[in-house]
């Protein structure tokens, strides 16, 4: 499957659209439905973080995502996910962290791998990877 690049305005109204498009691509790549649901949440979390980061910084540039299947996995990169994105502390039982870190906890819990790559300045790209099926290893590359 070729890699796809998607640009959406930095507006929370578009988070649903990114879920729709990325999960459609994942299904097309052969991902099983359970994993698609996991990916859906992960994409929502990552895109949300990127948009909220833009809002905090007053940025207007679109959110860019690249995604596609490779080697039995589906990978999604949210470019410029936010300078504050990071690993949350242990799951909460009372205090709710409002810095977006819980979104990363969720992403880590639902995907097979999360990479945070710091680029120019404070830009951080978040790359998540999900196996195409729960048993792993099936490649749906076309």
């Amino acid at each position: 499957m070729d890699s796809v690049e998607l640009h959406v305005p930095p507006d929370v109204a578009y988070v649903g659209l990114t879920r729709l498009i990325v999960t459609r691509a994942a299904r097309q790549a052969g991902m099983d439905e359970v994993r698609v649901e996991d990916l859906k949440i992960a994409v929502s979390e990552a895109t949300t973080q990127a948009i909220l980061d833009r809002e905090r910084r007053g940025g207007a540039e679109p959110i860019a995502l690249t995604f596609g299947a490779s080697g039995g996995r589906f990978e999604v990169t949210v470019h410029g996910a936010g300078e504050h994105v990071g690993v949350a502390s242990t799951p909460i039982a009372g205090d709710w962290p409002d810095d977006g870190s819980l979104g990363v906890t969720v992403i880590e819990g639902l995907t097979d791998e999360v990479q945070l790559v710091r680029r120019d300045g404070d830009r951080v790209d978040m790359k998540v990877s999900v196996r195409l099926d729960a048993n792993g290893g099936r490649s749906a590359d076309r």
């Binding site: 929370v12 109204a13 988070v15 649903g16 879920r19 359970v34 649901e37 996991d38 859906k40 949440i41 929502s44 979390e45 949300t48 948009i51 909220l52 242990t90 799951p91 909460i92 039982a93 009372g94 709710w96 409002d98 819980l102 979104g103 906890t105 969720v106 819990g109 639902l110």
Partner: protein, 113 residues
């Protein structure tokens, strides 16, 4: 992507039926409704999520906020949820230890009595 919210009274409880997708775009609407309900004196809430099609951490945050509000009035907030794809996110975040989560509305209403 629409969010539907309807509330009704069941005995001593107020049931809030939530349907559709709860994310950063729609969650404010849910938050507003929970704030309204608590403001109107509804302190024993059951949020029925059986028709929720999507929920992420933004939605969880709103529910946590609702729980805090009712607790300030010694109230309760229970959830009805039987969808694994929604329950999974509660487990990952540890919120299964925070919210009473029931398989059915009947169970939730009995459990809250």
């Amino acid at each position: 992507m629409e969010l539907s919210l309807h509330h009704r009274t069941e005995g001593d409880h107020t049931v809030l039926d939530v349907g559709g997708e709860v994310d950063v775009y729609t969650a404010p609407k849910l938050r507003e409704r929970l704030v309204e309900l608590v403001g109107e004196g509804h302190y024993n809430l059951v949020v029925d999520m059986t028709k929720v099609e999507f929920l992420d951490s933004t939605g969880l945050g709103v529910l946590v906020g609702g729980l805090k509000r009712v607790r300030a009035h010694e109230g309760t907030l229970a959830l009805v949820c039987n969808q694994e794809r929604i329950l999974k996110i509660f487990r990952i975040t540890g919120l299964t230890k925070v919210f009473p989560i029931h398989d059915s509305l009947e169970e939730a209403l009995q459990g809250q009595s």
